[in-house]
Symmetry: C2
Subunit: 213 residues, 2 copies
């Protein structure tokens, strides 16, 4: 398989290497990268309705034939582009759990204010709803972005800063979710002190789990 297929796992990012030729020409790599970047630009600007082979090719200064050479469909192209965009996020570990959480969440909140992330995210949410390959990729990418947060929470649990019987994944949900919710659902502003407020609420609940469960 020479390109990311819409049914395959996310993140292969394999070159289009012909199986017969011993040492394939790699001139295509430049074109490929330009197309991936153009794809994200188009998606951010026009959303799924405007995400079109012709439109991406035009933006990339590439020929349609080149796109079809690399990807079998617009959906497959989108998978590759999104996978290339969202790289892993660096970890933090200052020793202070609260500070680390606030730091990560503040960085994340900043993303919501800067193009093209929110537009891409919104378009991707819609697309993933109807394309299983995109849904799987979104799950993978989300897990990737959750990792630093999860690491801090797990470490805190190991050190006893937080009770060991709580589900770390749920804690990460509680921490990260409000920002997505405000930005994409409620459409209300995210104040600068929101990361601290969220962290304090969640940490507070973990320090003193309810008895009446």
């Amino acid at each position: 398989m020479t390109h990311a297929s819409s049914s395959g796992e996310a993140g292969s990012s394999a070159f289009p290497d012909a199986e017969g030729s011993p040492s394939p020409r790699r001139r295509g790599e430049h074109a490929r990268r330009r197309v991936l970047a153009a794809a994200l630009e188009v998606l951010a600007e026009s959303g799924m309705p405007g995400f079109t082979i012709e439109s991406v090719a035009r933006r990339a200064g590439a020929s349609k034939a080149t796109l079809y050479r690399h990807w079998p469909s617009a959906s497959a192209l989108l998978v590759d582009a999104m996978d290339a965009e969202f790289r892993p996020i660096p970890d933090v570990d200052s020793g202070d759990v609260r500070a680390d959480l606030i730091s990560v969440l503040t960085a994340a909140a900043a993303l919501f204010d800067r193009s093209p992330f929110p537009e891409l995210m919104a378009a991707f949410i819609d697309a993933a709803e109807r394309d299983p390959a995109l849904a799987g990729l979104q799950a993978t990418l989300t897990g990737r972005r959750r990792q630093p947060l999860l690491n801090v929470v797990v470490k805190a649990a190991r050190e006893g800063v937080v009770p060991a019987d709580v589900d770390p994944e749920l804690v990460v949900d509680l921490l990260a979710a409000p920002f997505f919710y405000r930005r994409f659902v409620a459409h209300r502003p995210i104040p600068a002190d929101m990361p601290a407020a969220v962290v304090d609420h969640v940490l507070g609940s973990l320090g003193r789990p309810l008895s009446g469960k």
Copy 2:
């Protein structure tokens, strides 16, 4: 103006009444309702890319001319359709704050499993990102759906079940957000006991606010 314009406030839902005729014929109401229902079906099935005047008309068994008679654009039609779909949610007040919260969240979580709500929501998130009228409508509709939760929280604060100095809106965010996040961002399942777990975490944090704020 005879129809909901894309720049107007949400929820006018006015009939198309000609200003000159004293007693306008209202046959159009049937057609109008069929079209609104069809619009939501199409949107849920095909997302924004497939949300098309022709497609909606076909589904509604209506003529394109009829659609253009009622709405100036596809966006205006979408505003009306979404506004008609999401009616206010009934309040709950059993006297038990925890039980009330869990009840509302469980009902909400059930929505995520049943078409066409999630598909509509996803499509709407994308659409609202690029159309200010839709963004405003989404904010209005979201506020409408938050109301029951907000009432419970405010009541709890008034009764002292919860400290009075917390921001009720933020509490509602913390309660509602994780479900949207799981469904549309993380693409992970929502277990049956998640509403209780979320409520307990959030209530726990409110019962014992952090000192280090």
